[in-house]
Symmetry: C2
Subunit: 228 residues, 2 copies
C-alpha cells in the first residue's frame, strides 16, 4: 500500500524540502529514520540490515529502496536531521538565555554569568547517548570504506562550520573571542563532550549530560577565549 | 613444538615482567601481539578471530589460549604495550628537547621556544594511524560489552593519569601550568590528536602526524596554560 505511494518519481536525494516531496513521503521517510535509529542503537550500525530497518518501520524492503538507495544513504539523512535539530536547539538556547543578558548590541559578561548561561544552554541540548554511540560506529565504517569517507567528512565539516558560526556570534555578543582557531576550538569542546559521553557509558555514570559537563565545558570555553 | 613450551604453568596475567616468564614465552607473546595488531588493522577488531591471529603468528589455537584467555585479554596486553611505548617516547622527547633548554631547576621559555620544543617532541612520537583506528574499534566494542567496559576504562584512565603526570612536570620545568583541570586538558589535547587522525584518514591526507599537528597542538597547549 505505502509502496504504491512511494513509487512516485521523486529523487531520493535526502533533501526534506524538495518541492515534489509529498507530506506522506516525508512521513514515510521520518518513520524509516526513526526505526533505523532504534535498530542501529540496538544492533549496531554495521549489523543492522535494510530488511530489519524496513520491518521495524512497518514497510517493505521495496519501500525502503524507493526512499534510500542504501543503509549508508539513510545514515546521511539521519545525520542531516540530527544536525538541523542540534543547531536549532543551540540557536534557541542562545536566544532564550544569552540574548536577554547582552541585548541587541552585545555587552560584557562576568565569568559567573558566562558559566551560568552555558549551563542553561547545555540543559536544552538533547541528551541521547545512543546517538553519540551510533554516530561513532558510522564514523568507523566510513574510516574503513572509501566510498562513504568523503560524504561523511563533508557532513561532519558542514556541521562544525555551522556550529562554529553560531558559537562565534554568541561569544561576540558577550564581547569574547577565541584565542585559537575558532573551528578548532569548537571541535575540541565538542570532542570533550563526546569523550564525556563515552566515559559515562563505560563507567555506567547515570548523571545527565549537563550534570557531567557543567563544570568542564564552561571552564574550557573561558580558557580558550578572551575579552574583546 | 612451541605449544609444548607454552604449556609451562605461567599465569597469563599480561604482566611482561612476571618472574616465572621465560624469554621464550615473552617472544611468543610478542609475536602474538604483533600478528594480532596486523590482523586487527586489516580485518577490524570485531571480525578478527583467535584462529586467524594464531595462524598469522605461526602458532596453534592452543598456543594462543595458553597465553591469552581471549581476544579481549590480548587487546588489553596490546594497550599496555602501546601505553608503555608512548610514555617512553614522550619521556625521551622531554629529556632530549626540553631538559637541555630549562636545565635542572627549570626556566622560563618564550612562546616560540615552547612551540619548537613541542614540535620536536611530537616528531618523536610513533605515527601509525592503524593503532588509532584499532583502538577506536576496541573502544566501541567495550561500549557495547559490559564485561570489558570496566577494564577498558581502567587501562584508559591509567594511561591519561601517567600522561598527565609527565606533561605537568614538563610544563612546570618550563614554568607553566594548566588553567583548567590538568588531566582534562591533557585529554582534550589527546582527543585533538585522535580527531586529527580520523580526519586525515577520511580525507586521505598524506601529511605526517607532526605536519598536521604542529600548528594546533602547541597553540592549544599555550592557550590552556599560563606562566607560573
Amino acid at each position: 500500500m505505502e509502496s504504491t505511494t512511494l513509487s512516485e518519481a521523486v529523487p531520493a536525494d535526502g533533501r526534506e524540502d524538495a518541492p515534489a516531496e509529498s507530506a506522506r513521503r516525508r512521513r514515510t521517510r521520518a518513520r524509516l529514520l526513526d526505526a533505523a535509529f532504534e535498530v542501529f542503537a540496538d544492533q549496531g550500525v554495521r549489523a543492522a540490515s535494510v530488511e530489519t530497518i524496513a520491518e521495524a518501520a512497518g514497510f517493505t524492503r521495496g519501500a525502503f529502496y524507493s526512499n534510500f538507495s542504501s543503509k549508508e544513504e539513510l545514515f546521511f539523512a539521519l545525520m542531516e536531521r540530527e544536525k538541523t535539530m542540534r543547531l536549532e536547539q543551540l540557536n534557541s538556547g542562545v536566544a532564550q538565555f544569552l540574548t536577554p543578558l547582552v541585548g541587541e548590541h552585545g555587552a560584557d559578561l562576568g565569568d559567573q554569568e558566562v558559566i551560568q548561561t552555558i549551563t542553561r544552554i547545555l540543559e536544552l541540548q538533547s541528551d541521547d547517548r545512543r546517538w553519540w554511540l551510533v554516530q561513532a560506529e558510522f564514523q568507523l565504517m566510513a574510516l574503513r570504506d572509501h566510498s562513504i569517507a568523503a560524504d561523511y567528512l563533508r557532513y561532519h565539516d558542514e556541521f562544525f562550520s555551522d556550529l562554529t558560526e553560531i558559537v562565534v556570534e554568541a561569544l561576540s555578543s558577550a564581547r569574547r573571542r577565541f584565542t585559537i582557531d575558532p573551528e578548532e576550538a569548537v571541535r575540541v569542546i565538542a570532542e570533550l563532550c563526546a569523550n564525556g559521553e563515552a566515559r559515562a557509558v563505560l563507567a555506567d555514570d547515570q548523571r545527565t549530560f549537563t550534570e557531567r559537563l557543567s563544570a568542564s565545558v564552561p571552564a574550557i570555553l573561558l580558557a580558550l577565549t578572551e575579552r574583546i
